[in-house]
Symmetry: C2
Subunit: 455 residues, 2 copies
């Protein structure tokens, strides 16, 4: 062992000792600031149960890298002891070599659990569910169920939702909460305390966003995942759903900003991946913006005759982009919250039209005031036809803000209708769309108002 | 009763009957599509307990309006029976008249609960906590605690977290989960099953975002709210936190889109409020954009000499805005998730600089290609100095994308440092900021490259 390794080792041992006392979430926070080798050392030094607890935290984002650095036997034992959903998550992110190496070190149950869990599509209920739930046959008494819960409590992710299975077919028939169960007569059958209704279920293929919606809507602690034969495969608990919701929101915000979703925390993503995620959309948007150059070429004659028109191009274009990105974010969020549905598009259009016109009138008035004020105060001379220039700016702002609000609000619907994620209608995307049409509107208004004078 | 009223009444009775069987969340969904008068009728027809359950759902957004339409006595009884946190929420949104009228109809306990809850600032833990928790003195046995839980189960929002209070001072000393409690020896004291550590607590003034962070980090079902004397005032449960998280995200997305947060669902906000929330930022941004007109005026001489420069203004400006809004959304989200902190600003700057340069080189290359291609294919003649024009466009894109990435990533830090919400650094805000400087960069690059030829 060389000097650096010895120091790391010592540091790890000290850390491990200090960490034994702390809350697991705080341990993870401390570990996340260390490099992979140190974390691996700490996990080797921590008591086994404690190490499992730490690895079970999804917040420990470096778990796969660390797992690869641990001795195979310890890594295998840790994976086998972890919650199956988390183990599957970590296992999936191992490189192929490590995966092959560790696969033989897992116990049989874990191997079969992982195989099943990893077969489900990404972001599905199956991929985030845990198989550590409590189920009891429907002919048990309340006391039997409670005794069973006491026995298995330490190995279950939650014991607050108890799933009652048909004694013969093993189908899921009811779900009962622990609070109801402990309030029941111990000698009575479990069936006497269950609710009158079948539980809300999802299938393993259900998207995690949909699962989050169920948990939120029905205020559930967990939602059962069943197959087509109503066999209980696992459960998704509310804390997994919160994690999923945070991840979905991050994706949406990043897309709204005009880039691909990162998949990893900002600090952990490599330089090349970062460029790739960002350059793609920027390039596409630049290609789109090139249409503005073509539009400008088309109106070059007008520009040469009235150079004063160029002065307001940035101002007018950006107002269109701004009103468009307002409307888009508003609609994307309302769609995500299911406040509005795809079929509501025309109602939204009927609402955004007067809103856009009103906003356009306000901005148009500000624009006219600006030109008038500058002319009057002598900051700039817009020439003898300055009133017509002011009218052009005002009229163009009215038209562009109206168009921006309408286009911005309809774009998420259009994307959704075409099968894309409406959140892809990023602010930059809308701005680009509105820029090109905005120029056409501007020169159109100018042609009408200034024809015979400046043009 | 006239004909319309009779029809509403009949419809309400039918609805109420049908709804008695359904899950409360589904009832709320059905009711949300009805007008206030119908909902009031349904709530009058539903069995009392059921009506309370329905009103307890935060998703019933029209509850305050409906409450005002109910007979005073029923409204008062319903408010008294509702969960105190939800009752406070509804009560707060009543108009002053109704509030005064109903206040006398509340039972004494509810009146004092509401008074306390309503005194806490908006979005604080105090404003979303419930006072319906389970607490036991520390000298009780496990069996005594369980018996108590069985008795109060139906009137508590959650019984899964049990708060252990000092017998003399009534201070909160420990929190224990029901799963631990039922696994304990019934004759042993409660203190034998509690964890070794004091529970994670918040104060009534803690912001709900911070509460959400605790619940998520420590995977809690509920977090206790205590005053300075460690007296337990209430608890915030995970489902309230999920609702709060969704509301915060909505605010963030709306701010990111360049508007004030709406506070209400899209469908429910009035026309005038909508205009007010949107026109403010649009007008401020327009005033900011007016600087672009001033910059353009300043460079008017250059524009007149080389009208070809104007063709690329929209394209170059928008590339700066796009790269800026990418960087901003990325940093806002990383700050919200606490992946990075205020003090990390220089590390981010050191990272965004090479990222921005690389993105700038890519976009610059595309820009040069565009000019070269058009010249070569004969789509447009940029004159004898077309290669210099291409170099100007490329150089300006490099400079602006670099500047945009850097400015966009630093803006949220600057806002946070100044005490504003970093999420106010909306995509349109960044775009406006970058537009003005972008023009200066463009004309600066042009002056260097084209001096002596076109300029």
């Amino acid at each position: 062992m060389n000097d650096t390794a010895a120091t790391t080792h010592l540091l790890a041992a000290t850390l491990a000792q200090r960490l034994t006392q702390e809350h697991v979430a705080d341990i993870v926070e401390t570990l996340n600031d260390q490099d992979d080798a140190t974390i691996a050392h700490v996990l080797a030094e921590l008591p086994f149960e404690r190490a499992v607890e730490v690895l079970d935290q999804p917040e420990l984002t470096t778990a796969p890298a660390v797992m690869a650095l641990l001795p195979d036997q310890r890594a295998g034992a840790l994976l086998s002891a972890m919650a199956p959903d988390r183990a599957a998550d970590v296992f999936q992110k191992l490189d192929e070599d490590t995966r092959a190496r560790l696969s033989g070190r897992l116990d049989r149950q874990t191997r079969s659990d992982l195989k099943k869990l990893l077969a489900y599509p990404e972001h599905s209920a199956g991929s985030i569910m845990t198989t550590e739930f409590v189920s009891v046959p429907s002919n048990w008494t309340v006391q039997q169920a409670l005794d069973h819960i006491r026995r298995v409590e330490r190995t279950r992710e939650t014991v607050y939702a108890i799933y009652v299975l048909d004694t013969v077919t093993h189908r899921l028939v009811r779900a009962v909460s622990l609070r109801r169960l402990i309030s029941g007569d111990p000698e009575a059958p479990v069936e006497s305390v269950v609710p009158a209704h079948k539980p809300i279920c999802v299938t393993p293929e259900t998207d995690r966003e949909e699962v989050a919606r169920f948990i939120t809507k029905y205020d559930l602690l967990a939602v059962p995942v069943v197959d087509a034969e109503q066999q209980l495969l696992g459960i998704v608990t509310f804390d997994d759903v919160i994690d999923a919701m945070i991840a979905e929101t991050t994706e949406d915000v990043q897309k709204l900003g005009g880039m691909e979703a990162l998949d990893k925390p900002y600090n952990e993503i490599g330089f090349v991946s970062m460029i790739r995620k960002r350059a793609g959309w920027l390039s596409i948007l630049l290609l789109g913006e090139m249409l503005t150059a073509s539009v400008m070429q088309f109106f070059e004659g007008e520009l040469e005759k009235a150079i004063v028109l160029t002065l307001f191009i940035p101002l007018i274009m950006s107002s269109g982009g701004n009103s468009g990105s307002q409307a888009t974010s508003l609609i994307i969020r309302a769609l995500a919250l299911r406040e509005i549905a795809l079929k509501d598009w025309w109602r939204i259009a009927l609402r955004e039209l007067p809103t856009g016109i009103t906003l356009g009138v306000i901005l148009g008035a500000i624009g006219v005031t600006r030109v008038t004020l500058w002319q009057w105060a002598g900051f700039y001379d817009y020439g003898p036809h300055w009133m017509l220039v002011a009218a052009t700016v005002g009229g163009a702002l009215l038209g562009i803000v109206t168009f921006g609000s309408l286009a911005g609000s309809m774009l998420p619907f259009a994307l959704k209708r075409l099968g894309f994620d409406p959140a892809s209608a990023s602010a930059p995307f809308v701005a680009t769309l509105v820029d090109v049409t905005g120029l056409v509107i501007y020169f159109g208004v100018a042609a009408v108002i200034l024809s015979g004078t400046l043009l």
